[in-house]
Subunit: 201 residues, 2 copies
């Protein structure tokens, strides 16, 4: 149905959000108008400020409104000697949540994709090479996605790192913990077989 | 994990949207910053304008930025002689989508709820009484929700309408089309039995 023009426009604009179709956009518009006017105003204001001010960390390229993101600005992280390469800021969150990693990150904001015209410069790999030349790292951990593009990107970066004499590792791929063998796809299962390790007693 | 302050604030602000928790708020923030900056700016602008300008239709109380909503402003609707009472603008959408109704609406924006201090004035029932006195309606259709509060509200409004000599009906409640008897709750099933009709050959 047609609402009044501004309400129609609000429902359409909300659909820019990922996973939000016409039906949930309508539900969101009504909820904001009915019970969240203050929260909605705050959202409009913060969203506008965020889009104006949030850019990329000049060291690791993740999102931040400051010159250096909180992780890069943390001296303990800098002292750690490890650098983890990921495709997106969401991957940083996922790895941080494991609590297993205390080093810094480099966020590609994508992966190599020649067909889409995305080359090494678009991923900041020239800047990564400079960083690896300027600072001594003990290990570079490749945590790009286990997709064709992610693997190709990992190979490309491993090459840059080795030329700087940095030890390179790749995160393990295999059967997810708690997963059932018969439900895992064949490709993952062959990775899992090839990556097998001696069984500890 | 902690992001930079503005990004943290954006992720928190997005959670004002219904059904959006910390995880999807984060996904939305990243998506807007990564690939939807123009759409995000538009959203911020339209949301702010909407909250400033969208109020209630002075006749039916649904949301609109104009004095009269498109349905109330439509002369065909006014000529129809039916008035349907619903609890929310979303209910108007649901009924419009059936294509079965061509009259006007009165949107309560809630239901009677003495414990929450929501009385007849809060639902605009004084204005509804004035409207029923000022204009001749053939039928008032009660489409409040089949809940305790919705039923109580329907009774209250039926009383107002009968005092103005308006014929009152209630939408039918029963087993949903395509539903299975054994899966329907007992209350719905007894409504369905009590509301049975002669079977047409
Ligand atoms: Zn950084
Ligand atoms: Zn109206």
């Amino acid at each position: 149905m047609r609402f009044s023009p501004l309400l129609d426009e609000l429902i359409k604009s909300l659909q820019v959000l990922p996973g939000v179709g016409p039906k949930s956009a309508q539900r969101m518009a009504f909820a904001l108008l009915e019970r969240q006017r203050a929260g909605g105003r705050k959202l409009a204001h913060v969203l506008s400020r965020s889009l104006d001010h949030i850019g990329h960390c000049r060291q690791c390229r993740t999102f931040t409104e400051e010159a250096l993101c909180p992780l890069c600005a943390n001296p303990k992280r800098a002292a750690n000697g490890q650098l983890c390469i990921v495709e997106s800021p969401a991957d940083v969150v996922a790895i941080e949540q494991t609590g297993q990693y205390r080093g810094r990150y480099f966020v590609l904001m994508g992966h190599l994709s020649p067909l889409d015209g995305i080359g090494p410069e678009d991923l900041g790999l020239d800047r990564l090479a400079d960083w690896l030349a300027a600072e001594v790292f003990e290990e570079l951990i490749l945590a790009t996605n286990p997709t064709v593009e992610g693997e190709a990107t990992a190979y490309f970066i491993a090459d840059i790192a080795r030329r700087q004499g940095v030890r390179v590792s790749r995160i393990a791929h295999g059967v997810p913990i708690g997963g059932e063998l018969e439900l895992v796809d064949g490709n993952t299962l062959s990775h899992s077989l090839m990556g097998r390790k001696a069984f500890a007693d």
